[in-house]
């Protein structure tokens, strides 16, 4: 059922290429016919070569025809190859482009629920497997079936008895291949299990190699590794050996077919009025030699097709996922004052677990709101709601009195400057990274922003200064330096509202203090939300939201909350219980 569904989707997807695909099928038919008919022409020529009565003119005729046919066949083969490549790569390009556009239109709930590696795999290897398997596999399958059927037809026409013999023997080859595959299956499972074990061990120990050095545990570590290594090797020899039996074994079957043809064909050729000519025997031997090849290929292609279909399913799962939708009434906004109201907001990531329930809160424009709580209490949930990475389940959040759902998401987000704890750098130069929100910024602006974020000093010590190229991981930059870069971005855009999610956690307290002063100047009269684990940095906030287990349990000023003597007070006291 699901399979049919996927096939229908695949067909819909490749509809623009349908004509081209039909042409490739016609071309492959031509190739098959040409390939199979050539030996017959050659056989005819051989039949004319009877000692003593050779007419070169007569022999030349089928040979000339064969030459033309060969030329034509290879031409068709060439066209087929080019057309196939064109279709395959065009589909691949379209799929990847669609996937990329899709990623930008998917809700965060989808992206958060799928691991990055998983989605990347869908777009890279699944698309490749799909195109290789489905498009090339399809023509291969078609050619294979065509060759088998064509050979059968030609053989029946030439001599039905030998055709029958070949036909009767061929399933043997499939049977042998299947037999071996089934019996090596367990060995492969065992091999991949040990391989996974070894990979896990390597990952763990190499990642923590410095600890191993520190405790001089190299010898012990090697011993442990060798244990797994030996087991893997023992199992790998068997798996490799047994699986490599497939080829010789199917070749044996092929040879049996060849042998049968030679024997029976030989008998048929005997006598004054033979049932078959020697030329025909040559044709049969040629067919017999190649006949089982498409069978082997087809069984390979079928697995490939199944793989491709599975990949297609995974790709369409991504391409067909629900997208974020804006309300039809949603509009753009200009710069805002920045008053935020949470009105009866309820939210949860999953239906089972209610997180925020009926939360009411308002922040006047220009206030500093601190969000505190122990690790894992869901502080980032609030950011998700403010930025509309997620939408509330009920109630509403209002910006300047307007429900945020009535504002187009990009317009809303432009008004927030966000710095997250997990710094994200784009592959490119330092300058590219700073100008992310303002691509046409001048050099002076960029340097001013970096200076405000206290990043200018370290940038100038890099080999190429602002033009230093960094990769996604940030290369040689320390965690603190990466955070400074992310802060520089915000300093350049000067958005009216700020969201800082432990934005300075890797920066030492002295620099942090200086940056906060810069932030304060920057957000003068603007609203800011600050997530922090250092309680000393939040005590001056206009309002503190205290979170626990995903819910907001208390809110108020530092003094009010201490007076309440609740959860916040216990957090605060724990810090200075020395």
């Amino acid at each position: 059922m699901k399979k049919n569904h996927t096939i229908r989707k695949v067909l819909a997807y490749i509809r623009p290429y349908l004509v081209q695909i039909l042409i490739t099928l016609l071309l492959s038919l031509g190739v098959v016919a040409g390939t199979l008919y050539t030996p017959i022409l050659i056989g005819r020529a051989i039949d004319l070569c009877v000692a003593g009565q050779i007419h070169m003119d007569a022999i030349a005729r089928p040979l000339l025809a064969a030459a033309v046919l060969i030329l034509g066949t290879s031409l068709l083969q060439w066209l087929l190859g080019i057309l196939n490549a064109n279709i395959t790569y065009a589909v691949v390009r379209k799929m990847r482009r669609d996937a990329m556009c899709k990623i930008h239109r998917l809700p965060l709930s989808y992206l958060d629920a799928h691991r990055v590696g998983d989605t990347v795999n869908r777009v890279i290897s699944d698309v490749d497997t799909f195109s290789d398997g489905l498009l090339l596999g399809f023509t291969q399958f078609f050619t294979g079936v065509g060759t088998i059927l064509g050979t059968l037809v030609f053989m029946i026409v030439l001599n039905k008895w030998i055709a029958l013999l070949v036909f009767a023997l061929t399933p043997l080859s499939l049977f042998v291949a299947k037999f071996i595959a089934e019996h090596t299956h367990d060995m492969f499972l065992e091999q991949s299990r040990i391989k996974a074990e070894q990979t896990a061990l390597i990952n763990e120990t190499v990642t923590a190699q410095k600890v191993i050095i520190a405790f001089s545990q190299g010898k012990q570590s090697l011993e442990k590794f060798d244990g797994v290594n030996r087991r893997l090797s023992k199992c790998a020899v068997r798996a490799l050996f047994y699986s490599s039996l497939t080829n010789p074994s199917t070749r044996v079957v092929n040879n049996l077919v060849y042998l049968g043809v030679a024997l029976v064909g030989g008998y048929f050729c005997i006598g004054a009025a033979p049932l078959m000519s020697v030329g025909t025997l040559a044709v049969f031997l040629r067919y017999a030699n190649q006949y089982t090849k498409p069978f082997n290929e087809i069984s390979g292609v079928i697995t490939e097709l199944q793989n491709a279909l599975a990949c297609a399913e995974r790709i369409f799962e991504l391409l067909d996922a629900d997208e974020i939708a804006e309300l039809p009434t949603a509009t753009d906004i200009d710069r805002v004052d920045g008053s935020i109201v949470f009105d009866c907001v309820s939210f949860s990531y999953t239906r089972e677990k209610k997180l925020i329930k009926d939360f009411n809160f308002s922040a006047a424009a220009g206030q500093r709101i601190a969000i505190v709580g122990p690790t894992g209490c869901g502080k980032t949930t609030l950011i998700n709601l403010l930025m509309r990475f997620y939408d509330v389940n009920s109630g509403e959040i209002r910006l300047d009195g307007r429900p945020t759902t009535e504002i187009l998401r990009p317009a809303l987000r432009k008004n927030f400057g966000m710095v997250l704890q997990d710094t994200w750098l784009r592959e490119g130069t330092i300058r590219d990274n700073i100008t992310m929100g303002k691509p046409n910024a001048t050099d002076e602006e960029v340097i001013a922003a970096a200076k405000a974020a206290h990043a200018h000093h370290f940038i100038t010590t890099l080999p190429d200064g602002y033009d230093t190229y960094i990769d996604e991981s940030g290369g040689a930059l320390s965690a603190g330096q990466k955070q400074l870069l992310c802060i520089s971005r915000i300093m350049l855009c000067l958005p009216p509202m700020l969201i800082l999610d432990e934005a300075t956690s890797s920066i030492d307290t002295r620099t942090e203090l200086k940056i906060q002063n810069a932030f304060a100047t920057l957000t003068k009269g603007k609203t800011s939300f600050i997530v922090a684990h250092r309680l000393s940095t939040v005590r001056t906030a206009d309002c503190i939201l205290v979170m626990r287990d995903g819910n907001i349990v208390e809110h108020g000023t530092h003094e009010e909350l201490l007076a309440q003597n609740g959860f916040y007070a216990s957090l605060w006291n724990a810090q200075f219980s020395i």
């Binding site: 070569c49 040979l63 190859g81 390597i202 190699q209 290594n229 020899v237 005997i270 966000m418 001056t540």
Partner: protein, 571 residues
């Protein structure tokens, strides 16, 4: 490549027998057309059914011998390939154990893992296929030609023309496409990076509203990949039609030449069919060989990378240096250090500490705190100046025995899969149950053992089934089990709350023969009670003394203190 041969020499018998049996198999394949020739020329022409039957019997025999040879070859090549892979992995892993911190910084974890897993696997496949195909395919191709010559020299000339022509076509196409395929792969990896980047940074991208720009950047990579792939495939799809054309035209020419020869009675019909057979065998074998060469280039690249890997690493040398007369336990004497030539992370650091003292090391991000303590166990060697332990320069000491005297608790709390007991044994393999429990007690970790199943609690990979704080306390216990004379806590209490941190420091001081302890931290609270506080700023020692003195004399220290304890004046 040379190195691979050295590894193969351990499997001399296998690596000789595998290709030998493969050639035996090929020999019998080459004999088949000759049998068919006899079958036709004698059996059919004379109408001798028994002869035909006996020829078929001969074919059965050939087939059986061929099969046995193939299986034997397959076994030997699998054994040699897997054996070399096992030895390579062992030696690579042993090599990793010899790396220093500096080597690890330079090489990187992902590189090591790729060498150990991906490249070794590629080499294994390469060896397996080489043993099976390197000799077999050329043997069949040229064997077929030689057999053709034994049948009829004139006709064999067609082979002599067709084979070089085929080789030229196959290798030209491969020479052109292989480097292009490498480029296509690099292209694909760029696309992969862009996608991953867009996924990991999705929040930032949406916050800045730059989705369009990112999509456009992706389209550029995607289009480049499309164009290059299509270009490469336009060349590579030539292979199959061209070889088909050459072989089949050669067959046509062969039959025509054969017919002329037959006219003069120089060739039989059976011989002609045998020649036809040989020509067909060549094509199949050549295509196989072309695929093998592609695989071989990949394996050779892997082998080269493995080779380079073995050349990496500079082991620590023991040098001679004079001792100094002192009663201090640890001395830094005008030490300077940098990770790469020309850069300085630490400059001119001098201090000394008595046995059992506590030394606090404080400073901002990148001020060189960790670098300073890493010099003591010789994780890195100082560029200038000397570090002395009981008056002996550490560079004169053996790294292993030196590290046994020092307990290190690194910044990142890393544990290994296995029981807690096994993890603690890292510090001291001979530690008794009591010693382990005592160490855990000092590290404030009794509750971990209570909550779980004591010392036998099984830790998942990297200790992931513990919280960050629990992991950190166990790494402290691991260092204490060795009863070290020097204990280095590198910001190791960052995941602990202030109270636990304070109790931990007190417990260490209460131990019998308390170690000389270095506490690295960004928090003044963690170091303010130390006997000596070192204040670092961009690699320079800007303050040295006790808390009260530093508050008076050291501006940097005062600033750090105030940023943490006084009202943050952010408005």
């Amino acid at each position: 490549m040379k190195r691979i041969f050295k590894y193969l020499s351990k499997y001399k018998i296998e690596s000789v027998l595998a290709p030998l049996f493969k050639m035996l198999e090929a020999t019998f394949e080459l004999l088949v057309p000759l049998v068919i020739k006899k079958l036709i020329d004698v059996g059919i022409v004379q109408g001798d059914r028994m002869y035909i039957l006996s020829m078929c019997g001969l074919l059965v025999l050939f087939c059986a011998i061929g099969y046995i040879s193939a299986v034997t070859a397959q076994y030997f090549s699998a054994k040699a390939a897997v054996g070399v892979a096992e030895d390579l992995r062992h030696d690579l892993y042993a090599k990793v154990q010899k790396f220093t911190y500096r080597d690890l910084d330079r090489i990187g974890v992902s590189n090591i893992i790729t060498r150990l897993i991906g490249d070794v696997g590629q080499v294994q496949t390469g060896i397996n296929m080489t043993l099976r195909l390197l000799l077999r395919s050329p043997f069949i191709v040229f064997g077929a030609m030689i057999m053709a010559f034994t049948i009829d020299v004139k006709c064999a000339l067609v082979f002599a023309v067709a084979i070089p022509l085929l080789l030229a076509v196959v290798f030209t196409i491969m020479l052109v496409t292989i480097p292009l395929f490498v480029k296509v792969q690099e292209n694909l990896e760029r696309i992969l990076r862009v996608i991953r980047q867009n996924l990991t940074g999705v929040r930032v991208i949406r916050a800045f509203g730059i989705e369009q720009k990112e999509s456009a950047a992706f389209d550029r990579e995607n289009d480049a990949h499309f164009r290059l792939s299509r270009f490469v495939s336009r060349i590579s799809v030539l292979l199959s039609p061209l070889t088909y054309l050459i072989i089949n035209i050669a067959i046509v020419v062969l039959i025509y030449t054969g017919a002329i020869r037959m006219e003069y009675g120089l060739l039989t019909q059976g011989a002609l069919i045998a020649l036809y057979d040989y020509m067909s065998q060549i094509l199949i074998e050549l295509i196989k060989f072309a695929n093998f060469v592609i695989l071989l280039t990949k394996s050779a690249a892997s082998a080269a990378r493995i080779d380079e890997f073995f050349a990496l690493g500079e082991p620590l040398a023991r040098t001679s240096a004079p001792d100094i007369e002192t009663d201090a336990h640890l001395i830094f004497d005008r030490v300077s250090f940098g990770y790469t030539a020309g850069t300085k992370v630490l400059s001119d650091i001098s201090f000394s500490a008595k046995r059992g003292q506590t030394i606090g090391v404080i400073g901002g991000t990148g001020s060189g705190k960790t670098s300073l303590v890493n010099l003591i166990p010789r994780f890195y060697d100082a560029d200038v100046g000397g570090i002395y332990l009981d008056g002996k320069n550490v560079r004169t000491l053996d790294a292993v025995s030196l590290r046994h005297r020092i307990g290190v608790v690194p910044q990142k709390a890393e544990l290994f899969s296995g029981s807690i007991r096994e993890n603690l044994a890292f510090g001291n393999p001979d530690a008794t149950e009591e010693e382990m429990l005592a160490a855990v007690h000092t590290a404030q970790g009794d509750d971990i053992l209570c909550e779980k199943e004591g010392l036998d609690t099984y830790l998942a990979e990297g200790g992931k089934n513990l919280s960050g704080g629990q992991r950190q306390r166990l790494t402290i216990a691991r260092a204490l089990v060795a009863d070290p004379e020097i204990l280095i806590l590198d910001d190791s209490a960052s995941a602990l709350d202030y109270a636990t941190d304070a109790r931990l420091r007190a417990a260490i001081a209460e131990r019998k023969d308390p170690p000389t302890t270095l506490i690295v931290s960004q928090r003044t609270a963690a170091v303010m009670h130390a006997d000596l506080i070192l204040v670092l700023d961009r690699g320079c020692l800007v303050g040295k003394g006790k808390h009260d003195d530093l508050m008076k004399s050291c501006e940097v220290y005062r600033e750090i203190y105030e940023s943490q304890f006084k009202e943050a004046d952010a408005e």
